[in-house]
């Protein structure tokens, strides 16, 4: 294996390691010392090789140096994002509320939604600051900052509708939740069952003095109930009276009402986003670096082809 080939492999590895932060953002590995040391080592070798190639004065070597400089730019961008970028954070907010995100110097406005929005998982989050225009983040469309990326992580959610026996709508509250007056459950807790954890949340129906623990099972998790044939996610309601009396439990599928303790409950199951913030290499550095790397190698390859062609036309030996 020639030195040049080894350097190209190293450059590709460094670029791949850096771009992994864009492709699979938020991994703890990007903030670990082996990752940083690996990138730093790659950067040093690329810098030394580019410098040596540049000093050789040959035109082919200069083209190779240009390619290595491109790879170096990408790699340094990857290092910078790990150093200067924010830690990986996930922010959970109730629809219609505002949460400060000090790491970014912004306030996150969690979009209002209703039962249909929960079912569709369509809610968005807007980031606002005093100094810049608002930034809307929508599902599947990450937004890049200088050394960070902000994106939405869909998380289990349920919109709860409660009625009495006469069909009167009842207030839902979450005395232990981050938003007291919300019929939208975001399942911040974990309930271990048989070595696995499942999302759990609690709400109250104060007009009937009822407290309902709600366990969420994704469509894949419903295999815990082998005799039933559920087509989507389900919730398990476990109701108690405020005086501590157990009033029973029941399983509910999305938008299929169930009655427990004189209260009819209808859960619309779906997702509501959490805001995820992770470090990411500067988009400009990555784009320019990759362009330079490809252009340098392309120019080198073309020059070599021309040299071979001219040697075939007028052989000197």
């Amino acid at each position: 294996m020639s030195d040049r080939f080894a350097l190209v492999v190293l450059a590709l590895a460094a670029i791949a390691a850096t771009l992994a932060q864009d492709v699979v953002p938020g991994l703890d590995a990007y903030h670990s010392w082996p990752y940083a040391t690996g990138l730093a080592f790659g950067a040093v070798v690329l810098l030394a090789a580019a410098w040596r190639a540049l000093r050789s004065g040959r035109s082919g070597a200069r083209r190779f140096a240009f390619a290595l400089a491109g790879a170096l730019t990408v790699t340094v961008g990857g290092l910078a994002s790990g150093l200067l970028g924010p830690d990986t954070i996930t922010v959970r907010g109730t629809p219609g509320t505002v949460t400060p995100v000090p790491d970014l110097g912004v306030a996150a406005f969690f979009g209002q939604t209703d039962a249909a929005g929960i079912a569709a998982g369509s809610a968005a989050i807007t980031l606002r600051s005093r100094t810049a225009a608002p930034v809307d983040i929508e599902p599947g469309h990450p937004v890049y900052g200088s050394v960070s990326v902000q994106y939405l992580l869909p998380a289990p959610a349920a919109f709860i509708d409660a009625h009495d026996a006469h069909g009167n709508h009842l207030t839902i509250t979450q005395p232990q939740g981050s938003a007291f007056l919300s019929p939208i459950l975001l399942f911040p807790g974990d309930q271990p069952i048989h070595g696995k954890t499942y999302p759990i949340d609690t709400f109250a129906v104060p007009a009937f003095a009822r407290i309902v623990r709600t366990l969420y099972f994704s469509a894949a998790d419903t295999k815990l109930f082998p005799r039933a044939d559920f087509k989507g996610p389900i919730v398990l309601f476990s109701m108690t009276a405020e005086d501590g009396r157990e009033l029973g439990l029941t399983i509910a599928q999305s938008q299929k009402p169930v009655t427990l303790g004189d209260v009819t409950l209808e859960a619309t199951l779906g997702t509501y986003p959490r805001l995820a913030v992770a470090s990411a290499p500067p988009l400009a550095a990555s784009s320019i670096g990759i362009a330079a790397f490809v252009a340098g190698l392309g120019a080198l390859s073309m020059a070599r082809r021309k040299r071979i062609e001219s040697a075939e036309i007028s052989p000197t030996a």
Partner: protein, 179 residues
């Protein structure tokens, strides 16, 4: 020799910088909300179209230009029941001064709310917030919750819990004084 020294220096620098990275325990999750309505003072007041108890849909925005005392309540809430007569008296006293009391019931049906307002002789406008949007947006941590919105549409005060007539007067004083 010089270039080896330079390389070692760069490598050392890179190693030092890599030490600035976290130790892998950098993932954090935190929740929003929970601050309560007090922290909202000065912020623009958000508005949602919801059904009115009497008539078509209504919203906070429809009362722009007036001082609005927005009261989030429900019929099952004992302090709300206790506060309601004072709220009605306050409305009667300040209506002529450009002050509106806007009752926003949280998540109950028109029949239940209508019977309640009739029993308590409520004459101020009442909205039915089925999805409890106002409750979430105004960070209510309990009921009743009162939010004073000034003539420019900004929140002048956010108060958690029952208010007496005297406390209601005190709560709107800054908004009344501002011209």
């Amino acid at each position: 020799m010089r270039s080896i020294g330079m390389l070692a220096g760069i490598l050392g620098g890179m190693m030092f910088l890599s030490g600035c990275y976290g130790g892998g325990g950098t993932r954090r999750t935190f929740d929003g909300g929970g601050a309560g309505p007090r922290g909202l003072a000065g912020a623009p007041a958000v508005s949602f179209d919801v059904p009115a108890l009497h008539g078509p849909s209504d919203s906070l925005a429809a009362y722009r230009g007036k001082i609005v005392v927005m009261n989030l309540w429900a019929t099952w809430c004992p302090p709300c029941k206790e506060e309601m007569p004072d709220l009605q008296r306050f409305y009667a006293a300040y209506k002529s001064k450009g002050v509106v009391v806007l009752g926003i019931d949280q998540g109950e049906s028109a029949g239940v709310v209508g019977a309640f307002t009739k029993q308590y002789g409520v004459t101020f406008p009442v909205l039915l917030d089925d999805d409890q949007q106002y409750g979430r947006a105004y960070a209510a941590v309990g009921l009743p919750t009162t939010v004073v919105v000034d003539r420019s549409g900004h929140i002048s005060a956010g108060i958690d819990g029952l208010l007496t007539l005297a406390q209601m007067r005190q709560a709107i004083a800054p908004a009344l004084a501002a011209r």
